[in-house]
């Protein structure tokens, strides 16, 4: 147990170091854009008719703390992010980023994680059973469904569903909320409304994610099934379900868990295009917008940081899960 806590603490430390590195990179990228926030603010004021002098710019830089050295500014940005969860202001939109993001990031992350959850809830048992089954019919149809999921671009699926629902029900099923709930406070009805919309992006993202996970699980299972320890277990008299779940399935689980962090990244990357088509105003789409249209580095930086932080956190969780199920990970990494 002490070993395990040591392992978890080491991993947590590594995760924090990773996050700090990421924040440094993100912050440097934000800084690399020519011109600083002070100049932008004043340039904006200028367009409103005020006269601007160099002294004004310097005063504004002082007010914003931009005259401090790079590392100090990074430190204060990181400090605000880590301890207050405050990403500062977007100097293009002149709004606080936390306000701007609102629930959007969490909603997007929620959609992605839910898609992944469903994907794995389906893919793990189905993949295991299909790897163990000799039914050509079962494997044929599964292969067909997952090739469809892998081959059909998500935007096409989204468009098809929209078209279909518009024609059939006269409702295009876009957005994450109905009009009346869009800016309302969270309430039971708003949750219900959200869920009635959210299943569609979850379904679209989840299909390809399931198809992908299914292929992974099946391949890993077939790989394990061919190993000598399975023959050895059979030679000891094991058979049927006991053999399947305790031997190949249990040992395939490690690599499956390992692929989760990577999958979250993949699903999040696919989210923007689905979001644009379904006109969901969520973080992925916001990221595209902030990068492409307005060059809003503070906003983009915040979103990239949040996404990386989610992936690092998920990786931390999967590392812990791996250590729980695989003694080799537990014992080797802990150096005992």
């Amino acid at each position: 147990m002490a070993q395990f806590i040591q392992f978890a603490l080491t991993r947590a430390g590594m995760a924090i170091v990773t996050l700090l590195m990421v924040s440094l990179i993100v912050f440097s990228l934000m800084e690399m854009v020519p011109g600083n926030c002070a100049e932008r603010y004043l340039a904006f004021k200028n367009t409103q008719g005020s006269q601007i002098t160099v002294a004004d710019i310097e005063a504004e830089e002082k007010r914003l703390g931009l005259d401090r050295p790079f590392l100090v500014r990074w430190g204060s940005w990181v400090g605000n992010v880590f301890f207050k969860g405050d990403f500062g202001d977007s100097c293009i939109l002149r709004l606080n980023i936390n306000q701007l993001l609102g629930d959007k990031f969490l909603l997007s992350l929620g959609i992605c994680l839910t898609s992944l959850l469903f994907a794995y809830l389906i893919a793990i048992p189905v993949g295991i059973i299909s790897a163990a089954s000799k039914s050509a019919w079962l494997n044929g149809s599964l292969r067909f469904i997952s090739y469809l999921g892998l081959a059909m671009p998500n935007f096409l699926l989204a468009l098809m569903i929209m078209l279909f629902s518009t024609v059939m029900f006269g409702d295009s099923m876009t957005g994450l909320f109905s009009k009346e709930y869009r800016d309302a406070e969270w309430s039971f009805d708003r949750v219900k409304d959200f869920l009635s919309h959210a299943w569609l992006p979850v379904f679209i993202l989840g299909w390809s994610a399931t198809a992908f996970a299914l292929q992974t699980v099946r391949a890993l299972m077939l790989d394990e099934t061919g190993k000598l320890y399975i023959t050895a277990a059979k030679a000891r008299g094991l058979f049927g379900r006991k053999l399947l779940w305790r031997y190949p399935a249990r040992h395939a689980l490690g690599p499956i868990i390992n692929s989760l962090g990577f999958d979250l990244n993949r699903v999040f990357n696919e989210l923007p295009i689905v979001a644009v088509i379904l006109t969901l105003t969520e973080a992925g789409a916001l990221l595209l917008e902030s990068l492409a249209r307005s060059n809003d580095q503070q906003l983009a930086g915040a979103i990239i940081f949040l996404l990386t932080a989610s992936i690092v956190t998920l990786n931390f969780v999967t590392d812990i899960a791996l250590a729980i199920i695989d003694p080799r990970v537990r014992k080797s990494v802990m150096g005992g």
Binding site: L228, A235, G237, K331
Partner: protein, 335 residues
């Protein structure tokens, strides 16, 4: 007392492959007596593992057993027709019950994420209805018996925490925990270094006496066979070309292939003497030679007869059998 424990007759094993049906074992016949160590030798690909796995019906799903094949397991209260065991429940007697198997790679034969102890207890409980504590007690006793120090602690460890020799000992402990009548050891010492190999072989010989169990010992190494086995069966391309006592086969090899194998052994007395391996390579099972399977590599081939006619298996001395046209001719000439 049972006369023969295992009686294999005309065992013929084929595999369905994309290239068609290939024959891996062709008409193999042998017996194993209780408490006897039978050495099975032959080059890589000669069908030793396939023969051994047949006894536990462990060959892959693409296996076809020829209907004339027969494998009998004689226990004191019953005689079991192995090929008629279709249901997994019925097969348990030949899988870890009366027959156990150990493999060349002890590391790969243990499930990596399950403790050695759990795997041992699992097997014991599968073959009896003893409670957990009893199974654990027996497992630890077995680990101690095969010479694993601190067996109680080792019980809770994983295969990757054992050294190579210890793993093979643990594998033997697990295989013997259910007190099988036959142990199949498929190159159990090939992956070990020589001193450890000697220890493991010594251990197996002790256990044969103690448990009054028979062993089918598979190896490439005639030297190991000479130290270990009571009788030897020499396999070539799916055929048993010669069987006899260790003394007969090693001192008076009758088949040109066995003679070749023995000549190929390095001579430690005379290090300058040239190595004389059996010429050529073992043919692919897809291109099995007609007639005698060894004729393509035999320096003593009689030509046409060996290429066309499958040799009979005949007796050169009591308990010493060989399949070779040349030997048959010589025998006939002597009479």
């Amino acid at each position: 007392m049972i006369e023969t424990l295992i009686s294999v007759k005309d065992l013929t094993v084929r595999f369905k492959t994309d290239e068609g049906l290939i024959t891996a074992v062709d008409g193999v016949t042998f017996d194993v007596k209780p408490g006897e160590i039978l050495g099975l030798v032959g080059e890589s690909g000669s069908g030793k593992s396939v023969t051994a796995k047949s006894l536990m019906l462990l060959n892959a799903d693409n296996t076809v057993y020829d209907p004339k094949s027969s494998m009998k397991l004689n226990l004191h209260d019953q005689s079991i027709d192995i090929l008629s065991l279709k249901k997994p429940q019925d097969q348990m007697i030949i899988r870890g019950g009366a027959i156990s198997m150990i493999f060349q790679e002890p590391m790969a034969s243990f499930a990596p994420a399950i403790t050695i102890g759990d795997q041992m207890v699992e097997q014991l409980k599968l073959h009896s209805n003893m409670p957990d504590e009893k199974a654990k007690e027996i497992s630890i006793e077995m680990l101690e018996r095969v010479g694993i120090p601190e067996a109680g602690k080792r019980f809770n460890q994983y295969a990757f925490e054992f050294s190579g020799g210890m793993r093979q000992r643990a594998m033997i402990a697990m295989a013997l925990s259910t007190k099988p009548k036959l142990l199949i050891a498929d190159e159990p010492t090939t992956a070990l270094d020589v001193t450890i190999q000697a220890q493991v072989i010594e251990l197996m010989k002790e256990l044969v006496d103690e448990f009054h169990m028979a062993i089918i010992f598979i190896t490439h190494d005639l030297g190991v066979i000479a130290q270990t086995a009571d009788r030897v069966a020499v396999m070539y391309l799916g055929n048993l070309v010669e069987t006899g006592t260790v003394h007969q086969v090693i001192q008076q090899p009758a088949h040109p292939y066995t003679q070749g194998l023995i000549n190929a052994l390095p001579n430690l007395e005379d290090l300058d003497s040239p190595l004389t391996p059996v010429p050529g390579d073992i043919p692919s099972p897809l291109e099995r030679p007609t007639g005698c399977v060894f004729n393509t590599r035999c320096s003593l081939s009689l030509g046409e007869r060996c290429e066309a006619e499958v040799p009979h298996n005949f007796n050169v001395a009591p308990g010493h059998n060989v399949s070779c046209h040349l030997m048959e001719q010589r025998m006939a000439a002597n009479e």
